[in-house]
Amino acid sequence: MELFELTAHELHAKLDKRETSAEEIVKSVLGRISKTENKVSAFMTINIDEAIIKAKEIDDYIASGKKLTPLTGIPVAIKDNMCTRGILTTASSKILRNYIPPYNATVVEKILQAGAIPIGKTNLDEFAMGSSTENSAYKVTKNPWNLGTVPGGSSGGSAACIAADEAILAFGSDTGGSIRQPASFCGVVGLKPTYGRVSRYGLIAFASSLDQIGPLTKDVTDAAIFLNAMAGHDPKDSTSVDLSVPDYRKSLIDDVKNLKIGVIKELLGEGISSSVKKSILEAAELLKKLGAKVEEVSMPTLKYGVAAYYLLATAEASSNLERYDGVKYGHRSASSDDILAMYYNTRREGFGPEVKRRIMLGTYALSAGYYDAYYLKAQKVRTLIKNDFDKAFSKFDALLSPTAPSPAFKIGEKTDDPLSMYLSDIATIPVNLAGIPAISIPCGFVNDLPVGLQIIGKAFSEEMLFRVAYTYEQNTEWHKRKPKL
């Protein structure tokens, strides 16, 4: 097996035994990128020279006998909505076409400290708004399993590059499913941590009360390792939680005996493809066979999630995106005779249609006369959804659902109907509204396209998620399959 095909934990073992070097690993991954990237288009920027320089530094560090962390020498891809000092960061938008951040996102600092090697910035739906990565202003990323289909979104670039072995670990961000859904479409592991578990400082904000950064990886073990490295309290983020980070590797136990698992009834009904439904029920059966107590659970408020989300998230986004005005950084329209013209034209030229649509929707929801009916009402629906989950978790240790209603759809298939695109997030959105963690792991294939199983836990129960996910993974072979590129 080539180095680029391995997982972080496998590479770490090799580095530890001095069977390979950081430079060899980086060159292997870069070599892979040079072969497949023209097909996949996962990256916005590839930091070839910097990665090799860093790799050499890491090798010196290792040679001097210093201790390795699980991330030392591991190539990491970073979603291009996370600030990297001195490295172009665009959020896949024209409005940031030339933006060089003066600082690193906290999680980027953390992995740099741990000796990881940033390999490049990955493509996303513009400002993380989308479920297919087709909203990128620069390029369309293809799903490595079928280049005519989407990789999912908004972290499509990161998910695709893991599936294609173009990086060993990748950062994603998730506001309504943007880590989990692409993980599901690309047959990789994607985790959205509990809100506040991972610092948001340096993540270009979409919806502040919903955004979280999380790992996209080849297997559950790597997700645990990566989460270990990125989680933790950050004094620069007032919403980050001051709770110690457990060693998530300790949760990688192949045992679900007597765990109570609920299968969400409403997420296996109308709107979910029958083949996806079949995969999920088979997964539930397997867990039952392995000793878990699996039952159906009804969560009647979940169906209001999409509506509440598209009012809340767009409202917050409309405000977060006001700063893109051509004054301080990024694109400034050439037609700027006066400040108003500058604002109107810069934002007209700089934002794509989906971003404009959400800014309009969000501004409307907050505007005079509509605040109570839309924004405030949506905040109340959020409480009801949270309560529904609290009730479920009083009975169950974890909940199951499909991550997405279908496998990856064709490129261009849903771009004409924004509403239908929004509705496909029905399973992932309620998790963000409640602030709880969820993981998507591969659980089957439909027409050779991956299907994802979503496991949901209560706040700060990532250990439970890893345990259930690891057990399932160790008793199946899905994670060993790779796309033919």
């Binding site: 909505n81 996370m82 600030c83 960061t89 959020a91 940031l96 933006y99 951040p101 003066p102 600082y103 996102a105 948001r200 400082y201 340096g202 993540l203 270009i204 904000a205 919806a207 502040s208 009360s209 004094p235 620069k236 983020d237 007032s238 919403t239 409202a315 917050e316 405000s319 006001e322 700063r323 893109y324 005005d325 004054v327 301080k328 950084y329 400040i339 108003l340 604002y343 501004t363 907050l366 505007s367 005079a368 605040y371 924004y375």
Partner: protein
């Protein structure tokens, strides 16, 4: 028809913290443009605010001093509007749930006590500074330059109830509020420099009418005096309009101190829709009662109370007490002196008179003078003893202040000791009388002024060092002969 004015004030005070409200940048004034900045206060993509604890402490302290209620649960909110001095194009402020609700301040206007209610006190961040190119101000400019040093400096907004009824009341209120904030050491209260700003909501109604008239917002009042003048102008304008049957338009007007009038602010945009919503990047502030109590303990005597005490305990007239307490540092110096000296009125006279004149001339404050309260009292004691005359003491004080010297050193150097010795004085008087025979005869025929002339000559001859009372007594005796 007689009209009465109804005025409410909206005050913004820059808080005296070391760092900004949501980031660690320095708040120090006068730095080169865009040097006290960081990713947070320049609104870079991906940044987040973190609240400065001292800012909250200062607001709670102010709220307590204003007898307001410290909220159990207060929330920051975003106020959205586009302007180049606002990097995020929203200001983090507070809306429905401010930090302090209610309160009041009692002021004295024209000898009458007036109770002015406070609606609320809340926190927000300041915007940046704009420098306009191609013109003196915004009008006619060809472009502008933005300096973000000031963005994120903490502001405390104080809103009064519409309880103010005259421009003078407004001015007095502003002065009292300023003193309060300076005493609390939360703001340096400088309207001219912009660390204390004031906007007013003004309306007029017939006396006796309960409903409020249409109000206008008046801005650009940059000193206590201009607050009064602006309100006078606006009240007159509104009254004139109502009297001629015209309707008041609700609008924002700017005070122009070159013509002493308010002019409408032309704005292309419609009335602002700020789309307030709770700031998702910050969590609620819920000050626990223990913390509030600790803050309450740090509040020392407030200006109003100090003024009353000086009047009551030391018999000072209101004017003296007011001047002394207006400046906290001056009041502190005064009280230090009082520990060593009993005659409060004499002390007050010297401080308000010669000492203040000196400080004004040198453009310094009491904290910068070169002598201590003890040294000041030493001088007063020498005057009381008669060792130096009141007159010569004036020059002595200046020398003390100039050189940081003690009174004894100055007197020794300049030989300013007062001459009270009768023998010495009689000699000089005898000389003066023989040199001014006409005045002597004038006095003897009843011209009283001649005495003062002769006294003057004695003082001149002694270079002001003669003890005036002694001179007068001896001269009169000598002239009788």
């Amino acid at each position: 028809m007689k009209y009465e004015a109804v005025i409410g004030l909206e005050i913004h005070a820059q808080l005296l913290t070391e760092s900004k409200i949501f980031c660690g940048c320095s708040t120090k004034f006068g730095a080169a443009p865009n040097t006290n900045i960081c990713p947070v206060c320049t609104g870079q993509p991906g940044v987040l605010p973190v609240l400065n604890k001292k800012v909250v402490e200062f607001a709670i302290k102010t709220g307590l001093a204003l007898k307001g209620n410290i909220a159990k649960h207060s929330v920051f909110a975003r106020k959205n509007y586009f302007y180049p001095d606002l990097p995020k194009n929203y200001q983090i402020s507070m809306y429905e749930l401010p930090l302090v609700v209610g309160g009041h301040m009692d002021v004295t206007v024209d000898g009458k006590a007036k109770h002015i209610g406070i609606t609320r006190v809340h926190l927000e961040e300041d915007a940046g500074k704009l420098v306009h190119k191609g013109a003196a101000g915004l009008k006619g400019s060809t472009g502008s330059l933005v300096d973000f040093n000031r963005t994120g400096v903490p502001l405390m907004e104080i809103v009064t109830e519409p309880d103010i009824r005259s421009p003078e009341e407004a001015k007095v209120f502003m002065q009292e509020l300023r003193n309060l904030l300076v005493y609390l050491e939360v703001c340096d209260g400088n309207m001219e420099e912009g660390s204390l700003r004031c906007d007013a909501n003004v309306s007029v109604r017939p006396i006796g009418q309960k409903e409020l008239g249409t109000k206008t917002e008046v801005k650009n009042m940059n000193s206590f005096k201009s607050v009064q003048k602006a309100l006078e102008a606006e009240i007159k304008r509104q009254t004139d309009m109502l009297e001629s049957g015209e309707r008041i338009v609700q609008e924002t007007r700017l005070f122009d101190d070159t013509i002493n009038m308010t002019t409408p602010m032309r704005s292309k945009e419609e009335a602002h829709d700020y789309r307030y919503f709770p700031e998702p990047d910050l969590v609620p502030v819920e000050p626990d009662r223990k913390w509030v109590e600790e803050i309450a303990k740090t509040i020392t005597e407030l200006p109003g109370a100090k003024r009353s005490r000086l009047m009551k305990d030391h018999g000072l007239p209101e004017l003296d007490a007011t001047v002394l307490t207006d400046d906290k540092a001056l009041a502190d110096f005064f009280e230090e002196c009082l520990k060593l000296y009993k005659n409060a009125k004499n002390l007050s006279n010297w401080m308000i008179g010669d000492l203040t004149a000196y400080m004004k001339a040198k453009k310094i404050g009491i904290k910068e003078i070169n002598i201590t309260p003890a040294q000041f009292i030493e001088m007063l004691n020498l005057i009381d003893k008669g060792t130096i005359s009141r007159n010569s003491a004036k020059a002595v004080l200046v020398k003390m202040l100039d050189g940081g010297k003690s009174v004894n050193d100055v007197v020794a150097e300049s030989g300013a000791t007062q001459i009270s010795d009768e023998g010495e004085l009689l000699n000089i008087i005898s000389n003066v009388m023989s040199n001014n025979t006409k005045s002597v005869s004038d006095y003897k025929i009843g011209k009283e002024q001649a005495l003062f002339f002769l006294m003057g000559q004695v003082m001149k001859a002694t270079k002001g060092r003669a003890n005036p009372e002694a001179v007068k007594k001896l001269l009169i005796e000598a002239l009788k002969k």
